[in-house]
Amino acid sequence: MTPREIAVLVLAAGGVFFAVVAAVGIVRLPDLYTRSHSASKSDTLAAGLSLAAVAVTFGLDVSTVKAVLLLLFMFITNPTAAHAIARAAAEEGIEPWTRDGADSGSADGTGSGPTDGTGSGPTEREVEE
């Protein structure tokens, strides 16, 4: 294997690993804000590593510049979008998940506490209107 093949293999494997971490966090974490944290950090790192693999693949070319610019763009905009969504949720009045609400659910981490807690925000808003 040439050094370029090893670099592409390592970068692509790292990207897939962090994408799996992001998907597990988005499916399993109890709250919108923790899911947003998982989406903004792990998924940004996964996209960065995978696009770095693409940039290494093209070698020295004009398309390498495109791949690097796409990497920088996603590196900036992905956390920004997650921040905007989380801020919109905070302004809608959705409460963050705390351990107090999860005591009733005990053993399995997916207790009904968090989903019920987040559901209270929009209904209050409906009442106001």
Partner: protein
């Protein structure tokens, strides 16, 4: 097919499967912002998939498609999050 093409196509297939797992959160996210986060993650995974396929087939034109898709993905997230808070204050 060279070794690098195989690696990139395998990674692209893995990203597609991961996006299918995130669809679970898109279907039964309790709030609307959960669904927006899921759509955002799926969109960025699709951008990475397009770029990986472009690298595997040495297709330079597909990178432009990936760039435009990333731009639209970001604009969609910002527009939806602003639209839901101000109830149409943007438009």
């Amino acid at each position: 097919m060279t070794f690098i093409s195989d690696v990139l196509l395998t990674a692209a297939a893995a990203f597609v499967l991961i996006s299918l797992v995130v669809v679970y959160r898109l279907v039964r996210g309790p709030t609307m912002q959960d669904r927006v986060i899921a759509v955002n993650v799926i969109g960025s995974n699709i951008v990475v998939t397009i770029a990986l396929v472009a690298g595997a087939y040495r297709d330079v034109g597909a990178l432009d498609i990936a760039i435009v898709y990333a731009l639209l993905n970001f604009l969609m997230s910002i527009a939806i999050s602003k639209f839901t808070v101000e109830r149409g204050g943007v438009l």
